[in-house]
């Protein structure tokens, strides 16, 4: 149940900033490149501030707001033009949009900056659907996939809706609903390290549900979840259970680009 305010969306802009997020930068750079390709094909110039680092979420959720503020502050000055800021991960977008204002609640000048910034933050799929009006023919063969939406993205940004809109529009893609689809994948950032058994048990169930639903491929707009789910699917216990269908996955930007590119890559 989402009952946050309905957001008003701007017209399609000529320029956007891309906030790649540290996980994409470091672990899944292809998703960033594919996102740029998708946006450019829509006639949007994409600017990637090279100074960007992390949104500060790990420190914030771990209970280190000072450190989170220090890192968040560094991101404030990276986006001088009034362009939208497209974020490649739902939970980072949630952090910047929902929690920056909280983080600076007691710092009036920073607060107004944080609020202004928050207004310009768009999660990637949200931006494609609501601002770009993305619609490209599906050029690849039939496939069955599952969609996983990170919890913060679902609750703070309604990303499950836009993710399903994008996938649902692909003619040859069957999106299967998996059991407990709305449930967390067990990542939770540092939670996965502090409580590995609980985290692993949740991730395990997620992988099972996706497989049970008949999908061999999982698509997500959130790299943390994706790394967690795929890490679990190929982890030490996975290999031991013989006969398990393999599970692959990718960021939704890569998935969309691969299916809609003129020359199939």
């Amino acid at each position: 149940m989402n009952d946050h305010k309905q957001r008003e969306y701007p017209a399609k802009p000529a320029d956007v900033y891309l906030f790649g997020t540290c996980l994409v930068d470091q672990f899944v750079p292809a998703a960033g490149l594919d996102a740029i390709r998708l946006l450019e094909r829509e006639g949007i110039r994409v600017h990637f501030p090279m100074q960007q680092a992390c949104c500060g979420q790990p420190a914030y959720t771990s209970g280190f707001p000072e450190e989170a503020r220090a890192v968040a502050l560094r991101q404030f000055d990276l986006f001088p033009q009034p362009w939208p800021i497209v974020v490649l991960s739902g939970s980072c977008a949630g952090m910047m949009r929902q929690h920056y204002p909280t983080l600076f609640a007691h710092d009036a000048p920073r607060l107004s900056q944080a609020q202004a910034l928050a207004e310009r933050i768009f999660e990637f799929t949200e931006f494609l659907v609501q601002v770009v009006g993305f619609s490209r023919p599906d050029r690849a063969g039939p496939t069955t996939v599952a969609l996983h939406t990170s919890c913060s993205a679902r609750r703070e940004m309604d990303v499950h809706v836009t993710g399903h809109t994008l996938l649902g529009a692909l003619e040859h893609v069957q999106v299967v609903k998996h059991g407990h689809e709305e449930e967390c994948c067990g990542f939770g950032g540092l939670f996965s390290l502090r409580h590995p058994d609980i985290s692993g048990a949740i991730a395990n169930d997620k992988v099972q549900e996706i497989r049970k639903a008949g999908a061999q491929h999982v698509v997500s707009a959130d790299c943390g979840c994706l790394l967690n789910i795929l890490g679990r699917a190929t982890g030490p216990e996975a290999s031991s259970s013989a006969g398990e269908a393999s599970l692959t996955g990718e960021h939704i930007a890569s998935f969309l680009w691969h299916r809609t590119a003129e020359v199939n890559v």
Partner: protein, 478 residues
């Protein structure tokens, strides 16, 4: 009646590991949660109605908290005028002492108990037993759990972790003359027969309180079984025990809150019994207790109250919806938490009741997925409170402002240093770029065993080139 709890591991991680390993229990809990989730969903077909109701529910609770000292005094005055004796307890020990005093005055041997989490919180049964008084749980779930020498694993469904076969075996072992039968109706009838005799014989009835109404001096109790009514009507003395936060200003507030409580809790439209207790038996009346007492318990609640953000914890109406929707609770069940209140509400409440020593693992054991806040009928922002509590636990103990008596209890120099360095790296673009460059260059050297992560997952290996290294020139903004 034995209340020895079975041996539980002293540490949260170990307890949760054990719980995760118990396949049968995990399936049972999962089944129960799926059931409760779908029933709740069916109760709220209209998202707008639900949203409006939650707004009102939250407003009612916030109003009560904003005026708590005045409302408590009004409640006390009205109850006293109605003939109810009001007692205040700062600690579990004080609450138990009050209880024992009342019991001693009436030379009580047997106390029948309706469902009361606060009585669990103060470990009342233990105190009663020590004084030679039998304290018998009469809610079917609680009765079963007590018979097994365990503690409730859920605040609404105490025996959620048990199968009917286990219960049938338990009855056969513990109740004379009962032979094995795992038909649920039969099991309930067995419980009914045993407990009816106890109701008729009891000297004191104990109950919790769902809401205490300041306007009228009313103790409001809801239940399905009728044991709550038995406990509050049959014995000569009724003692109600509750936290100081359970007060509401107006009688009609109860009507609204109860349009949220059962629907959120068990997915039923309404409970079988809503019981409004306004005082002891009046002259001429033929039943009902001759004495009614109310014990108002603090036990850390004033600490939560003192902080404007953490105060929201006290909005809780104990519906249990947060635990019914919690992915962590689903995997480990209620016992692993090791606290009276498990699940998300337990994680935000227990630090005030028990301190961070026992409660800190609970505060960290959340992915912050927000499922709890999504369903909370009174809109407690549970993930925000968890973040705040993590911050309090790790704050510098030297800091002037301490929201909890043991703020800073989990302050860890090394951990703080790690985050300082992290902030330094990520806050200084040049450092970050250098650091992440190294990570990707030497990613192939990443260890194959990455501590807890690789316990259940494949290792994380940085890509050989970062996104920023691969960017076409036109996208780079230096």
């Amino acid at each position: 009646m034995s209340t020895v709890s079975r041996t539980v591991a002293p540490d949260f991680s170990e307890r949760s590991r054990q719980a995760i390993g118990d396949e049968a229990q995990r399936t049972g809990i999962r089944g129960a949660m799926d059931f409760l989730q779908s029933k709740r969903k069916a109760q709220f077909p209209d998202p707008q109605e639900l949203s409006d109701l939650r707004d009102l529910g939250a407003a009612i609770r916030r109003y009560a908290l904003a005026n708590l000292p005045e409302l408590l005094q009004q409640l006390e005055a009205r109850l006293t005028a109605n003939g109810v004796q009001v007692h205040w307890a700062e600690t579990p020990e004080q609450a138990n002492a009050l209880m024992l005093e009342i019991a001693a005055r009436h030379q009580a041997r047997l106390m029948v108990k309706g469902k009361s989490m606060v009585s669990e919180e103060v470990e009342l049964n233990h105190a009663m037993q020590a004084a030679g008084i039998e304290a018998l749980e009469t809610d079917m779930g609680e009765y079963i759990v007590q018979l097994a020498g365990e503690k409730p694993s859920h605040i609404i469904m105490p025996a959620i972790h048990k199968t009917k076969q286990q219960i049938a075996t338990l009855f056969t072992e513990k109740l004379p003359g009962v032979s094995y039968n795992d038909n649920v109706d039969v099991l309930i009838q067995i419980g009914r027969e045993v407990l009816r005799k106890k109701f008729a014989a009891a000297d004191i009835g104990l109950s919790g309180v769902n809401f205490a109404v300041a306007e009228t001096g009313t103790l409001y109790l809801v239940e399905n079984e009728g044991n709550g009514r038995m406990c509050t009507t049959v014995p000569r003395v009724h003692v109600a025990i509750t936290g100081i936060e359970k007060v509401v200003a107006k009688l009609e507030h109860v009507a609204l809150l109860n349009s949220l409580l059962p629907r959120s809790a068990t997915g039923q439209a309404v409970e079988t019994y809503q019981n409004f207790i306004n005082g002891p038996r009046k002259p001429g009346e033929l039943d009902g207790p001759e004495e009614v007492h109310l014990i108002l318990l603090d036990n850390g609640r004033t600490q939560a109250y003192a902080d404007p953000q953490l105060r929201a914890t006290l909005q809780c109406i104990r519906c249990g919806a947060c635990m019914n929707h919690c992915p962590v609770y689903a995997r480990i069940g209620g016992h692993a938490y090791g606290t009276t209140y498990p699940g998300p509400i337990g994680a935000i409440l227990s630090p005030h009741l028990l301190g961070f020593g026992a409660a800190y693992p609970l505060v960290t054991a959340s992915t912050l997925c927000g499922a709890c806040a999504d369903v909370c009928p009174v809109r407690i922002p549970i993930p925000d409170l968890l973040i705040r509590l993590r911050n309090e636990a790790q704050a510098n103990p030297q800091a002037a402002r301490k929201a909890l008596r043991d703020s800073g209890a989990k302050h860890h120099l090394l951990l703080t240093l790690v985050w300082r360095i992290w902030a330094l790296l990520y806050g200084r673009p040049r450092f970050y770029r250098w650091f992440s460059w190294c990570a990707s260059r030497f990613g192939a050297l990443a260890p194959r065993h990455q501590g807890a992560w690789t316990h259940t997952r494949a290792p994380l290996i940085p890509a050989p080139r970062r996104l920023r290294d691969l960017l076409p020139q036109q996208n780079r903004l230096d």
